[in-house]
């Protein structure tokens, strides 16, 4: 009964969506309204105005810089919410699944992870973050790969080993690098009397100004990458506490 009602409602919504799709301009068309107004200017002048060969990076850090700063605040707030709900991982108390079941991951998994881990980290930092303005990549992407690499390591070797190599007191300052880097680069401009997040310094012209801007944008990208990655790592570590309710069930009957 309930399922039938839901399916009926979904059919109506689907018909409305398909009707609207039938009215939309053809995909892939160069004359669609989304590509005719401001986009040609972004594509032509994006490198000059945005300061990066990768125009998406220019859009993220320049044209939409405030938006990206808000986004960095969002992931930082997410970490705050997770830590407020779950608390940090507790060393000695915490166990990840390989230890909780008493079974270690196999030699093959551990060996492959041991060889792949440095390569993944190198790819994330050197290619995605540092070279992200001239090739596919960027801070968030690098951060996601960095976080994923440590999560893979944790799944193979267990949480105690991971937290031993990445202790809380190292992670706490790194978690804020994204937002601190953003604010610092914005405020340097403000202190010299230009607008927030313009990445320009007065009195610096020509090629030097380009270098300064690239440097500031790279600082922000690496800050976003390290900060975002470490935030993901901390969130996952905070969630890995299976033993707490598997070994000591705290389940009041409702």
């Amino acid at each position: 009964m309930r399922k039938a009602a839901v399916l009926g409602a979904l059919l109506i919504i689907g018909a409305m969506l398909l009707f609207a799709i039938g009215k939309m301009p053809a995909m892939n068309s160069r004359n669609a309204p989304d590509k005719t107004h401001v986009i040609p200017r972004y594509l032509e002048k994006g490198e000059e105005e945005g300061g990066a060969k990768n125009i998406v990076t220019g859009v993220i850090l320049n044209y939409r810089g405030y938006d990206t700063m808000g986004e960095v605040t969002v992931i930082f707030s997410a970490l705050c919410a997770v830590v407020a709900l779950l608390d940090r991982e507790k060393r000695g108390l915490s166990r990840s699944s390989p230890d909780a079941s008493g079974v270690r991951s196999s030699v093959i998994v551990r060996t492959v992870v041991r060889f792949a881990f440095p390569v993944i980290v190198f790819f994330a930092v050197a290619y995605m973050m540092l070279h992200g303005e001239g090739s596919p990549g960027g801070g968030f992407q690098g951060g996601a790969i960095l976080g994923a690499s440590v999560i893979v390591f944790t799944l193979a070797f267990g949480l105690p080993e991971s937290t031993r190599r990445m202790p809380l007191k190292v992670r706490i300052p790194l978690e804020s690098t994204a937002i601190v880097g953003f604010l610092a680069m914005g405020i340097i401009g403000l202190a010299y009397g230009v607008n927030f997040l313009t990445y320009l310094l007065p009195g610096v012209h020509g090629a030097m100004a380009q270098t300064v801007r690239n440097l500031m944008m790279t600082v922000i990208e690496v800050g976003i990458g390290i900060g975002g990655g470490v935030i993901f790592i901390s969130i996952v570590f905070a969630m890995m506490r299976e033993d707490k309710y598997e070994l000591q069930p705290d389940v009041p009957q409702p």
Partner: protein, 121 residues
């Protein structure tokens, strides 16, 4: 309805289907984790939709390089928007999963109907 137009906009149709699948999961499944998976499917459908809007026939990635004219590049704005969207989706999923952990700790179940005290749906 113009069906040939719809065939050319196949990505939009697929994203609408994904959206409906996600909505169905969110509404019908009682398990909170499955509801979250449905929510993520809905988010993915929106990402597919918006990135597809920016596509261009035979387009290149919007990266300035030798031999790539700016008129050949795809629209960079949807990509930048969706990058933001993905990060926000990850953040909301993280918070929702930790709420699920807390709920499981308190009630010993993730079944929304049981938690509300209404038994099986």
């Amino acid at each position: 309805m113009n069906f040939s137009r719809m065939f050319h906009n196949l990505n939009y149709v697929v994203s609408a289907l994904l959206f409906l699948m996600g909505l169905y999961t969110v509404v019908v499944k009682p398990n909170l984790i499955k509801k979250l998976i449905g929510l993520n499917i809905m988010e993915t459908s929106v990402f597919l939709f918006i990135v597809s809007i920016g596509m261009v026939e035979g387009g290149e990635a919007p990266i300035v390089a030798e031999g790539v004219k700016s008129s050949q590049m795809v629209n960079p704005i949807p990509q930048a928007l969706i990058l933001t969207g993905i990060v926000v989706a990850v953040s909301t999923t993280a918070v929702a999963l930790s709420l699920c952990l807390k709920i499981h700790e308190r009630y010993g179940t993730l079944n929304a109907a049981e938690i509300l005290g209404r038994g099986e749906p």
